[in-house]
């Protein structure tokens, strides 16, 4: 608790202590009134003072002013009619208790959520004259050597030059399995060094480092307000004046009507009911709980390694009905592997050997995957006269034979007849001395979580999943089928992807949103064109962090359903709070107007709604992840 809050608590306790004897003493008249003024003054003097200041500044719909009018009015009614002052003091007391609770609870959750997102390293160690010196990370120049001790957070991105250790990147990615780091490895700021001392040569300035960029993003996130937040601010702006005007009308109109029809006016009763209105006139519960819910939601997401750039995106994500995926690197690993060898006459290993040798000097991903499949050492002296045919393949001499390795275009160029292969993968044809010798299939592997992710998205109400790929249509369709996607489009250039997304956007109904998920490498235009752009595996990629609205810190597609579920849950809590808080207030107003609810009930309802709304809001922080439990269990064995 802050000093301000402690003082408030003391005042509340003091006032309560004063009230207890007053309640039991059989006091009468002026003495009773004066004695009751003591706790009233103790607990409410600042309200009265602020109310005066408000009047001077023309702020008549200020909470302080309204509470002052309500309680002073109740005191006046006590003098003139009921002789009961307890109610006025109690209303003030409970109001202050509510305010104190709000300030403590909100402050506390605000700080704990902020701490969750706070990855700021305070210092960086540099070695000078054999001793470690802690300096401000902002002062470290690119290329400096910093020392990171076990338990410390890496302050700046860099490359390990000395030492070996394991790193905990949970704060960045939500991934709890530590990863190892040794000499030559790139390390990202924000990771915690777990075991050994590391010396790191910095490759970026502090301000450009991963951790700084993420912090900047997170800090700005809750400034992008959602529709619900705007609605509540607007509602609050009209709610208080409306309630005040109805209170005034309630105090004046019914008695006048009763006078007109010849009954007695009962001014006191109606005034009391009007004062009850004023007690409920503060929109605090609403105003506080909605941004708090979003804030908790953003905090919970960042804990799971999902960075959401604003409450508005969280809201939009909850309405997502169409998910459009990029293929390579998003749903597939982007790593090519030999998936089949089909020789005409040779053995599989012989065919592979020819292909590998012919491609041995190429750095193309396809030749790399061929080499990976060939486990024996490569004898390059067997290869001569290598000729690369751009975009088609390679011609080379291996064991004195002319080998052609490449796609169908290469076969056509050298007029070698080849069979039509309908497999949905990349096909490498091989010809020996211009005679067709067989083909090798190379395909990209699906990420282990892709299928689960697509299914889970469907379970959460996503209507359409669409695959976009630059790859051949056959490959795109095959991957789409494997993952149970609704549609798959292949052979798209980056510009075509934008067009596809634009077309899909026109088909979407109002209030439904379209999400594009990419790896952030070359799909920045699509990311920004979609309602929500999600970049995955974006750790360390500035372009992706810039272009996307939501950033998944690692490349596990299962984070997508986690994010969707979180968004839906968060919005659920937002709606609960809106309906609940407005509902209870309206109910109290109604009951107050017909004289069933008294001031006690009004203040209890008001404070109670706020407490419950705040507690409900905090729930948004806790989310269940579609995590890697299965794999973790496997590892433990």
């Amino acid at each position: 608790m802050t000093g301000k809050q402690k003082k408030m608590l003391l005042r509340i306790l003091l006032a309560t202590a004063c009230m207890i004897p007053l309640f039991f003493l059989p006091l009468q008249g002026a003495l009773k009134f004066l004695l009751y003024l003591i706790p009233y003054g103790i607990v409410g003097y600042d309200i009265l003072w602020n109310a005066l200041k408000g009047i001077r500044n023309g702020q008549i719909f200020d909470e302080n002013f309204l509470m002052a009018v309500a309680t002073l009015g109740a005191l006046v009614l006590g003098i003139t009619k009921t002789g009961d002052y307890m109610e006025a003091v109690a209303v003030m007391l409970f109001y202050q208790i509510g305010e104190l609770f709000q300030s403590v609870a909100v402050g506390k959750s605000r700080r704990s959520i902020a701490a969750l997102m706070d990855l700021h390293p305070d210092y960086a160690n540099i070695e000078a004259d054999g001793e470690l010196k802690a300096v401000d990370p902002e002062e470290i120049a690119v290329g400096s050597i910093i020392v990171v001790q076990p338990g410390e957070r890496i302050p700046i991105d860099g490359v390990v030059t000395e030492g070996q250790s394991t790193l905990d990147a949970a704060a960045l990615t939500g991934e709890s399995l530590p990863r190892s780091a040794s000499i030559g490895d790139e390390v990202l700021s924000g990771c915690i060094n777990l075991s050994g001392v590391l010396k790191v040569k910095t490759t970026k300035e502090f301000g450009e480092s991963t951790v700084s960029r993420i912090m900047e993003l997170v800090e700005n996130a809750s400034s992008h307000k959602s529709h619900s937040e705007r609605f509540i601010s607007k509602f609050a702006r009209y709610y208080t004046p409306c309630v005040c005007i109805s209170a005034l009308l309630l105090a004046v109109l019914p008695p006048l009507v009763q006078l007109l029809i010849g009954k007695s006016a009962v001014w006191g009763d109606w005034l009391y009911r009007a004062l009850t209105f004023l007690v409920i006139s503060c929109p605090c519960a609403l105003v506080i709980s909605i941004p708090l819910t979003f804030f908790a939601g953003l905090g919970g997401a960042s804990k799971a390694g999902i960075l959401i750039k604003g409450s508005n995106y969280l809201e939009a994500l909850s309405k997502a009905k169409t998910f459009v995926f990029d293929k390579t690197g998003t749903l597939t690993q982007g790593v090519f592997q030999v998936s089949g060898i089909y020789p005409t006459e040779l053995s599989s290993s012989q065919l592979l050997e020819y292909a590998v040798l012919a491609e041995s000097s190429s750095s193309h991903p396809i030749s790399k995957s061929l080499q990976a499949a060939y486990s024996l050492p490569i004898d390059r002296s067997r290869v001569k006269n290598i000729l690369e045919v751009s975009g088609k393949g390679i011609q080379a001499e291996v064991y004195g034979k002319v080998i052609h390795v490449g796609n169908s275009g290469l076969m056509e160029e050298f007029s070698i007849p080849y069979p039509e292969v309908t497999e949905a993968s990349t096909i490498v044809h091989i010809a020996i001395d211009r005679t067709y010798a067989g083909y090798i299939l190379i395909s990209d592997k699906l990420k282990p979580g892709s299928k689960d992710a697509v299914k889970a998205l469907k379970d959460h109400g996503v209507r359409q999943t669409i695959l976009l790929s630059g790859d051949r249509q056959a490959v795109a369709s095959a991957v789409g089928r494997q993952l149970n996607m609704d549609k798959s489009y292949g052979e798209l250039l980056p510009g075509d992807k934008v067009q596809q997304v634009e077309q899909l956007l026109t088909l979407n109904q109002a209030k439904e949103t379209l999400v594009f998920v990419g790896d952030g490498l070359n799909d920045a235009p699509v990311l920004s064109r979609a309602d929500i752009g999600i970049a995955m595996g974006a750790l360390g990629s500035d372009a992706a962090i810039e272009a996307a609205d939501i950033v998944l810190m690692d490349d596990d597609p299962r984070k997508l359903p986690t994010a969707l579920r979180l968004a839906k849950r968060c919005m659920g809590i937002v709606y609960q709070n809106i309906v609940f808080a407005i509902g209870i207030k309206l109910l109290c107003l109604l009951l107050g107007a017909i004289g069933i609810a008294n001031m006690w009930l009004a203040i209890f309802a008001d404070v109670g709604v706020m407490v419950l709304a705040v507690l409900n809001a905090i729930r948004a922080l806790f989310i269940k992840q579609y995590d890697r439990k299965e794999e973790m269990k496997h590892d433990e064995h």
Partner: protein, 72 residues
């Protein structure tokens, strides 16, 4: 030009009031109060001096929420 200031404000509704008041100050293009991070983000018009504008912003905010604080 966009600048961020640390603020101190107790209740959410007060933060809303500050946001409206700050937005009406001359020289301010837009004002956003982030109650959760206790920050005021002001976008200034071209060719104004932020420090003089901020004095006015502080005055305007104090007028609607007497116990708020803006750290300029």
């Amino acid at each position: 030009m966009k600048k961020t200031y640390r603020i101190e404000v107790d209740c959410g509704n007060c933060a809303n009031k500050m946001e409206i008041a700050a937005g009406k100050v001359e020289g301010v293009a837009s004002a956003t109060v982030n109650f959760m991070t206790q920050k005021l983000i002001i976008e200034f018009h071209e060719d104004v001096q932020p420090s003089t504008v901020m004095e006015q912003v502080r005055k305007a905010c104090k007028k609607v929420v007497s116990d708020c604080e803006i750290y300029i």
